[in-house]
């Protein structure tokens, strides 16, 4: 399954809202500072079909949710950083189970890629067992 260009933009915006760069003195690296696109490609290539379909459906729900959550007629990626955080917080605190699972799903995926990067682990104080990034994070070799 491949995401369309605008879906990928939505996904990046959600990830960056969850794990922003330069938001903490100790942990300056955000998800935008790791090769998260390659991670997403890898997940979309290998994850079970049901999960991929669910991820895409959730993407649409979150992307279009600003209207219903904060009354703004914009897609998620067109909001400023503060409004994006507010939308995710509102969704996460919803009384509707399936709604509050949406941000959790993206957090789970984003953290899975982000937290596996040795550079991130080093900033947190973890001494990574592997000094080099995981396979999915490496530049594809050119022919």
């Amino acid at each position: 399954m491949k995401l369309l260009a605008f879906e990928r933009r939505w996904l990046r915006a959600i990830f960056e809202a969850i794990l922003p760069s330069n938001a903490d003195d100790q942990l300056s690296l955000g998800v935008a500072d790791v090769p998260i696109d390659r991670f997403v490609d890898d997940v979309l290539e290998h994850a079970p079909g049901q999960f991929k379909a669910g991820l895409r459906a959730s993407l649409w729900v979150v992307a279009l949710s600003p209207l219903f959550v904060i009354g703004r007629f914009k897609t998620f990626d067109r909001l400023d950083a503060r409004a994006r955080s507010e939308v995710l917080r509102c969704l996460a605190q919803s009384d509707i189970y399936l709604v509050r699972e949406q941000p959790l799903l993206f957090k789970m995926v984003a953290c899975l890629g982000y937290g596996g990067m040795p550079a991130v682990q080093r900033q947190i104080g973890i001494h990574p067992t592997d000094s080099s990034p995981p396979d999915w994070a490496r530049e594809p070799e050119r022919e």
Partner: protein, 510 residues
């Protein structure tokens, strides 16, 4: 004579092989059966759906581990009112490769309960299991982690448990000279964990067993009304692209040890156990939830035994508490915040401790094929189980504060995201008994091909031979009539060992 390990990519033509016994699955049950049968000089084939990942190829990042070692990339869920992740391995060594290496003997009271209710007593004699547990302890280096590699996540829990006057202990694990790398869930990077891929599988190969990995068992071969092998297909470990077939013939018996999730599907597809109507039914497990504590001093969960300390003080009340050091990738997703607040929290990840409660739930679920032919797991805790979970979360919170936590993140919808006194957890009892309020995971599955005396109320007999198909044995936790309230790895090994001894005796004409 040494055997071999064959995987997808190494074969381009259909493979045919024959042995005395064919074993399906290479986890705790399958590998142990392989160990016992090959010791008796019996020729064995092991068929394993997942790939073989040697220790030197294991990586520390959780995602790569999910891809290569975990079933459905760690995304297998039980569906009910809530989605409950169901954690299992899918590789040579099975779940033993990615579990916390906890070795617990089956409580005698659970065994007695089975005997009273279901009349087990044929193959299962408790004194025999004890003999095997002693042997397993020796062979798999079962013991507690040395104090210097226990790690603060464990010693803090000990402080909390002892401070409250509760009973607790360092966990007995099958790890030899643990280095405290806290990578049990990614596959031990130092090979210290005595998981089946490092112990009984290579031992069986050394004694001549052939292991066909990345090969999914699909159909039993039945001749003269008896199980005489299995037909499977090699699959690419990541893309599942189909490869050649495997025809593994058995001169004497087939052992199914594919787990309480996969075994009933295989039995169902082969029309085994239909008389009882119990194949895939009566699924039980140990649902659990974690609580995060924030401490002023460093905890550094990334050093120490993943799961090194436990309390069984409330076992009679169907609760068990364990430390659960989570890799960053897991732990980060469990935190309640997003955005800058999450980054601040992650910046102090080294000050977080995570402990969990597992509940001996009474609820039953099922494993079936759905309308589209896919495996479907239904599972929901019942109200009583949820009330226990609440009590467990409260007790974890008490332990956290007792051990010096500054804040606790209970992770329950309807409660504050963070609390700073024990009293603030009390409102949990005013919440509805709804599983959707909690972030639970389920591990340790049981009961989907239950053993018993009669073919109307069980799938296999007390020797673990299928009522419906002679020479077909099921030796994994599918046959356990109930859950146990403790981690099952040790008991699964012992029960499979005992069944394998029975098969060996039978083949020897004893």
């Amino acid at each position: 004579m040494s055997g071999e390990l064959v995987e997808f990519g190494a074969v381009s033509e259909p493979v045919e092989d024959i042995a005395d016994v064919v074993i399906i699955g290479s986890g705790a049950a399958g590998a142990t059966a392989g160990r016992v049968l090959t010791e008796a000089g019996i020729d064995v084939i092991i068929v394993e759906e997942g790939p073989h990942v040697p220790t030197e190829k294991l990586t520390s990042d959780m995602y790569t581990s999910f891809k290569w070692l975990w079933r459905d990339m760690g995304l297998q869920v039980g569906q009910g009112r809530a989605f409950t992740p169901i954690l299992q391995g899918r590789c040579v060594g099975g779940t033993t490769v990615i579990n916390g290496a906890i070795m617990h003997r089956m409580p005698k009271r659970i065994f007695d309960h089975w005997c009273e209710e279901r009349g087990e007593g044929g193959v299962l004699r408790y004194e025999e299991l004890e003999r095997i547990w002693d042997q397993l302890d020796l062979e798999l280096s079962v013991g507690t982690a040395p104090e210097d590699t226990l790690g603060r996540n464990n010693t803090l829990m000990r402080r909390g448990v002892e401070g409250l006057g509760l009973r607790g202990n360092s966990i007995r694990r099958n790890v030899k000279d643990c280095q405290g790398s806290a990578h049990c869930n990614q596959g031990c990077p130092t090979g210290r964990k005595q998981s089946m891929n490092n112990t009984y599988v290579p031992l069986a190969i050394e004694r001549g067993a052939r292991v066909y990995a990345t090969c999914k068992a699909e159909r039993f071969i039945v001749e003269g009304g008896r199980a005489r092998g299995v037909v499977g297909r090699f699959l690419h470990p990541l893309t599942h692209e189909p490869g050649p077939t495997l025809t593994a013939r058995a001169r004497h018996a087939v052992v199914v040890a594919a787990s309480a999730i996969q075994t009933p599907v295989l039995l169902h597809d082969n029309h085994i156990g239909r008389t009882s109507g119990l194949v895939g039914e009566r699924l039980q497990c140990h649902p659990g939830a974690g609580v995060v504590g924030v401490f002023d001093d460093p905890v550094d969960m990334w050093f120490g035994a993943n799961q090194g300390y436990e309390s069984t003080h409330f076992w009679d009340e169907r609760m068990k508490f364990e430390s659960v050091a989570m890799p960053l990738e897991f732990g980060a997703a469990r935190l309640p915040e997003v955005g800058p607040e999450l980054m601040h929290r992650l910046g102090e990840y080294g000050h977080l401790a995570i402990w969990g409660v597992q509940v001996r739930a009474r609820a039953h679920g099922s494993v079936r094929r759905n309308l589209f032919g896919r495996r479907s797991i239904r599972y929901d805790m019942n109200d009583g189980d949820i009330q226990l979970l609440k009590l467990g979360i409260k007790r974890l919170t008490e332990m956290m504060f007792e051990s010096g936590a500054r804040e606790v993140l209970p992770g329950v919808h309807g409660l504050p995201e963070r609390i700073s006194t024990v009293d603030e957890i009390e409102p949990i009892f005013g919440l509805t008994d709804d599983p959707r309020r909690f972030h639970c995971i389920a591990s340790h599955m049981f009961g989907t091909a239950v053993m018993g005396l009669g073919r109307n109320n069980s799938v296999v007999d007390p020797r673990l031979e299928a009522h419906d198909l002679p020479d077909l044995y099921v030796t994994d936790s599918s046959v356990f009539p109930t859950n146990m309230g403790v981690n099952p790895q040790h008991s699964v090994c012992a029960v499979s060992w005992l069944a394998a001894e029975g098969i060996a005796d039978r083949l020897a004409g004893r």
